[in-house]
């Protein structure tokens, strides 16, 4: 691969991001407005209090909801182009600030869950492929299918109850991790103790997906001609598996890891609820429930951007790993 080839490939992929983001922005803007409800009605009346039509109009005017839809859309797109996501209609704070306070929680869980998933999935997936149809393979596949089939919120609730009951049984007092998040930069150990259970809960399902992908990719690669050639040359099995098998089987596995990682940033609503973590997923659900258009748009655009960038990184890795892709 020459430097020019890689450069052209990168430029092409980066340019494709623009229409993707614009399409996502258009979709989220108009879909949000199709949902029945009105943030002003919720703000003014959610405590069961009555309010006048004048109060409602003033609220609409204050939030800019009395302007024509096309004008609101242009305002949103123009703001997004300037990286200004606006102000939350519910809290009155900048959307960027609202997201920034929740993002570290989701990112920490996503990173930990990914590490756990990779540590479990790749060795087990490889062993499962190498010992195809054996008892070991059966056990690993059962473990993986259970991980995919079991809802992570159930695993979360059960693991939390298990910790409470076991600590009460052995130490006389029930214990659970703190439910008030602190950043890993402030109190590393406390922060770890908060996110470890949710990370394991999510990491188990995540590892099951990656494990199955690793196994099927390895099975395919192990049947390739170059593997047979390597064996015929008398190479030791460890080198065949690690250097020739695993490296080539990693292409689809990297894709799955990338997609799952991006999903974790905004997709952990239930896990965040079970463990009382104030992450992006819960914020998104709150924003939708409150009909907070600006905040919902901001979070969705953040998730879309993470997906797009993760895909870009995966594509670049693909091109780096497999020269056939960048020349296609």
């Amino acid at each position: 691969m020459t430097g020019d080839d890689m450069y052209r490939y990168l430029i092409k992929r980066i340019l494709l991001i623009v229409p993707t983001l614009f399409g996502a922005a258009t979709l989220v803007f108009f879909l949000m407005r199709l949902i029945p409800g009105d943030i002003c009605v919720i703000r003014l009346g959610s405590g069961g209090t009555s309010f006048t039509e004048q109060a409602l109009s003033e609220c609409h005017a204050a939030l800019g909801l009395d302007r024509p839809l096309w004008l609101q859309f242009i305002h949103f797109i123009w703001g997004f182009c300037r990286l200004d996501l606006g102000t939350s209609m519910w809290s009155g704070r900048p959307v960027a600030y609202e997201i920034a306070t929740r993002f570290p929680v989701s990112l920490e869980i996503a990173v930990f869950a990914t590490v756990i998933a990779v540590i479990i999935a790749i060795p087990l997936g490889t062993i499962s492929a190498l010992k195809q149809n054996s008892w070991t393979d059966l056990a690993v596949r059962t473990f993986a299918i259970a991980g995919i089939a079991t809802p992570s919120f159930w695993i979360g609730i059960v693991s939390l109850l298990a910790v409470l009951n076991l600590t009460q049984y052995f130490f006389g007092q029930p214990w659970m991790p703190p439910i008030n998040y602190v950043s890993v930069w402030q109190h590393p150990l406390r922060s770890m103790s908060i996110v470890i259970l949710p990370a394991v809960t999510v990491g188990y399902r995540y590892s099951a997906v990656v494990m199955r992908m690793t196994r099927s990719a390895m099975l395919e690669v192990l049947r390739e001609d170059y593997i047979r050639t390597a064996r015929a040359k008398g190479l030791v099995n460890r080198i065949i598996v690690n250097r020739h098998g695993l490296k080539n089987a990693m292409l689809p596995v990297v894709t799955v890891i990338g997609i799952e990682f991006a999903f974790l940033i905004g997709g952990l609503v239930v896990t965040e609820t079970v463990f009382n973590l104030n992450g992006i997923g819960r914020l998104l659900v709150q924003a939708i429930g409150n009909q907070d258009y600006t905040l919902t748009q901001g979070i969705v655009m953040l998730i879309v951007t993470i997906f797009v960038l993760t895909n870009l990184v995966v594509d670049v890795l693909y091109a780096w790993l497999d020269p056939r892709i960048r020349f296609a």
């Binding site: 949902i35 003014l44 009460q168 029930p174 659970m176 104030n278």
Partner: protein
Amino acid sequence: MDLQDPPGRQFHNGDPLTAADVAASLNEIAFPPKGVLSPRSDNFMMVKDITAPDPGTVVIHLKFATTAFLPALADPFNWIYEKKILDTDPHWYEQHIMGSGPFKFAGYQIGQSIKGVRNPDYYHKGLPYLDGFVGIFAPKQAVQLDAIRADRAATEFRGYPPSAIDQLKEQLDGQIKVQTSDWNCTLGAWINHKKKPFDDVRVRRALTLAIDRWGSAPGLSKIAVMHTVGSIVFPGSPLAPSKAQLETLAGFWPGINKSRAEARRLLKEAGAEGLSFELLNRNVDQPYKYLGTWLVDQWSKIGLHVTQRVVPTGPWFAALRSGDFTVGTGGSCHGIVNPPIDVQTWLPRSVSSANFGYYDDPKEIDLYDKMLHETDPTKQRADMWNFVKWVLDDQAHFIETMWWYRIVPLRSYVNGWKIGPSHYLNQDLSTIWLSPPHCGKCTAEPAPAL
């Protein structure tokens, strides 16, 4: 209103709290300036003007005498801010916190926690006992209960159903105590009069006659916060109807079989036998989902075919407000027990925007006004009964079910807190103290505050 005793009241920023601040804040609530929203301005409908003739006195003139005024004044949402701030920026309080109470605002982590530290200049000398507090946001009941069990939280002030409390007691034998109270919140169902055949009073009466309140309350109150059978007046209030009076209202009769036979007769007479409709409900566990499921079951007993549409708070409110529903769950929840003001919710739509029955009823307004202006307690009680009977029985405008019940668990080392009939009340935490060893270097109960 004399503010001179005790002297030395001051805001957390050190500025003195004067009558001018109180008058300015109350004026903003009662008579909001243009551009300022005051959902509680209706509470002060009887107020003519509010002035502060000197730094220690606030004078409030009323348009008419009513027992509703003093409870309205005691509402915990009547926050007091500095006049000089309100004068320069009437929206200041929307983004800032200012108080004169026992704890100073120390921090807020969005969606996580709020912190307060002891105010050494609090005007009740010796209070508060605590050095500070942390309030944790945890929306799910299971998480809250786990946190209390593991002592990550010492209490939760809203309340739980008996089943959850029983479990907590079993898990924390001797380490938990419980306080209970009637709750100034009620929930029932709005009937949209604009939808046929619900414009027919016979159909509305049939819906309320089908509900077995007395028979269901014991079972329902074990799993939900719904508890006390009552009218639209808080059951503990002197203005509430007696049980004998309640039993004369449609749907509150002692024999449910007789009640349901009457419901079937009315439906047949109105040509609405086997009626099908949708119940709009809110996606909130306690007690909305319990109420919805129970109502559907009760209506099936008179041959009605009811389905539930459970939606998040936003769409639920929007549907109620736009009238895009047939029957929908709803009710009211208040801080101070003030029935003459609390029942405003059920005034016709032209008066109360919180009424989702979508009807006009001049006679109901007349009955309400008579009750509101009556100052003799006996006569006012009789007037309130006439109003309640008209709304729940004669016109069956609303399907009242049960009032809620608070059961609040506290870790056994938490002392000095007293439950009230609202989760909005008694939240200043000034009188709370902790038993050793949770209180640091303390050895016994603190000295009483001055």
